[in-house]
Symmetry: C2
Subunit: 421 residues, 2 copies
């Protein structure tokens, strides 16, 4: 063991009971059955952030909230720090661990670091990002911190009900707060713990994984325009039927995707909207989301080309012209810092010998916006049944504790390297 060699180690000061109690307390904000409903900037989200700020202060950290609702717990007496955290907002119908787990890991490790006397020039800051789940935009909070949220995007972003981000910020009481009170220049590294949100660890009997990269993602919205008409009287040859045109398009695209796919790329047609959506009316409009994710840039480009080719060939079906094509997401695959990944994997092997691996993340995370700014690493714990974005999301308590212990140990080792006393 190389940690705790001169002062108390963070891992030794880690308190599993305290960590789990705080995780349960955070779950209570918006708890709905076994799930949590705590969308970004909702009143219950704001309440949870007030509570988080008080917990940071209880730990001797300075609590700093910014205009997007990101809450930092800063070790203000240190000029620089390792930043640890995740997002505290949930999906509209979310699980209790997605984001929340990494937020509480950050709180617990920053708290343990303060208590340990381990830190010298470099402290440990904690953070609870906001709107990772994209109520208003994607990764709103972490992109604001990273300087990647433009004022134009901030001013125009609206949620699915048309509520403006800027108005929700004011309603939350954050309207007068600065956009970037904490500078990335303060932070020497970013670490994020998270549930896997997939089945790989569980199905292979592993407990922990260091993440070597986050997949890239592209998402398109394909929209057909038809003409509403009576479903009994309009002859087939005279129809402009947006749904039949869309079905033909997706069917062709699915064939192309299946022919191009490697074993790792995933694709999803998750949202369909039909107007006016009545059984007896020929559809006037139909749109479908086309999303795919891969860690291989070339594979993403091949799928994107298939989308464009299928759109180009799609005119004239069911009386409809070519559909409109709008790109909604375009995230390049983001590698994690190689050295940090190995520190995390070594720490995980120490905590769970033979039960850790290195894997890539199929989900997007706030970490992908930190990676261009500083060395960034992620650690996964298993998801029961591989289920996430669902009220059924859960992880064994032992795995929750093992993840925090491994992350604390990794911080000890990183500090030993970069801030020897």
């Amino acid at each position: 063991m190389t940690h705790g060699d001169r002062r108390g180690s963070i891992a030794d000061c880690f308190d599993p009971g305290r960590m789990l109690a705080d995780l349960d307390r955070l779950r209570a904000f918006g708890a709905t059955g076994t799930g949590v409903v705590r969308p970004a900037l909702s009143s219950v989200d704001v309440q949870s952030r007030d509570w988080l700020a008080s917990r940071y202060r209880d730990a001797g950290l300075e609590a700093v909230t910014d205009r997007c609702g990101n809450v930092f717990g800063c070790d203000a007496v240190r000029p620089s720090a390792i930043l640890i955290g995740s997002h505290a907002d949930t999906q509209v119908k979310g699980g209790w661990l997605d984001g929340a787990l990494g937020v509480i890991y950050g709180l617990e490790i920053a708290r343990a670091a303060k208590a340990s006397g381990r830190t010298g020039r470099i402290g440990v800051d904690a953070v609870a990002w906001n709107d990772e789940e994209g109520r208003f935009t994607h990764f709103t909070g972490s992109r604001a911190y990273a300087g990647k949220l433009s004022i134009g995007e901030y001013d125009t972003a609206v949620d699915a009900d048309g509520i403006r981000l800027a108005d929700a910020v004011v309603a939350a009481g954050y309207g007068d707060l600065p956009l970037r009170p904490v500078s990335p220049s303060r932070h020497v590294a970013y670490l994020e713990g998270h549930i896997e949100q997939g089945p790989l660890l569980e199905t292979t009997g592993l407990q922990l994984a260091a993440v070597d990269g986050i997949v890239g993602a592209k998402e398109y919205l394909v929209t057909y325009h038809g003409e509403a008409n009576h479903a009994g009287t309009a002859p087939m040859a005279l129809r402009h039927d947006a749904v039949r045109a869309m079905i033909a398009f997706v069917s062709r695209l699915e064939e192309r995707f299946a022919a191009l796919a490697d074993d790792h790329i995933v694709w999803t047609f998750g949202r369909i909207t039909v107007e006016p959506n009545a059984p007896s009316i020929v559809p006037a409009a139909a749109s479908i989301s086309v999303q795919f994710r891969s860690s291989r840039p070339a594979m993403l480009e091949r799928f994107a080309a298939a989308v464009h080719q299928t759109v180009d060939e799609a005119g004239g079906v069911a009386g409809c012209a070519k559909p409109d094509l709008a790109q909604i997401l375009d995230y390049v695959p983001t590698p994690m810092d190689l050295h940090l990944t190995h520190i995390l994997h070594d720490a995980a092997q120490t905590i769970a010998p033979g039960r850790s691996r290195i894997m890539s993340s199929g989900a997007g995370h706030d970490a992908q916006f930190m990676a261009p700014l500083m060395p960034t690493g992620m650690l996964f714990v298993p998801s029961i049944g591989g289920i996430s974005h669902s009220f059924d999301e859960d992880t064994a308590r032992g795995d929750l504790v093992a993840g925090c212990r491994a992350l604390a140990l990794a911080v000890d080792r990183l500090l030993t390297e970069i801030d020897p006393v």
Copy 2:
């Protein structure tokens, strides 16, 4: 001319200006731009029915409203009558003529009949059916009159927002009214004027059509069950993706329909519902409506067999089991009375020489529930652009007048046959 041989004819007493003024007045109830929003039992629908009752009374008819909101204008001094009308409710976003035209034709002809002194033992009654457009059930009002709306169906019917028919009836003030105050045994024939709701008359330059039958319709709801999961982390091979399974099903069904179709059958996939309908979540459920209409029973059966066969073969795609299949509609093709159709066609040829034809109706109408009870006939006027179930629905004023004049003339001729003085 055989009408008006002994007393004044109905056709001679027909007042085009009065008819059009009443049609415009009815349009004002729920007018929204060029369209009308007057769903069954909405407050504006109830207001329009109060107004219709007053117009019936002004014409010397007895106004009778039943529990479903059907409003009759009865020539109470005659022991039996020809019934003329259509429905006064509209689609959620409806046109101004669908139903309303036939209601005002009924009012105008019953009024002209009263004024003409033409009627002897057999009078002319008018009717404004309710909920033809199926806010609560399909053809609620005319089925209630025909004795085809069961009490069980009445008690359990709800609209798309979950509002119960029985509660809407009470809110409308109809709760204490009888279900069938006017008996079909009173009526010797039923006539309904309607817009075509299709392009056939317009594209062939015709003004009127006698309807020889109403197509049959079958509608199914096909529902796939998948499992919600994260669209980035769930490997393709482990997914239970309701949308990809549904797309494959509909694509296969479309192929089969196209191969089986004759020139007249029509089919529509008008409504799609996806749960939770988010781009980043593997869909947990997806349903699609499958509706088709034909005047040929054998063609309907072939399409129905294709639906069943495609469902039977559909298991195992995208990790989903065979979909649930529920039949929503099953209407057999309904022929109109042959003799009445010829009386209507002859009258139409008198009014518009060389510009009338006989055709079948691709839309369902209240008339299909009268046809089993009494000789029933329908008359169509053109729809501009073939458009209906849309705010753009319209018909030339000259065509609206020609339709009413032809229907009045047909009533004169029918009375000459069945009630000679």
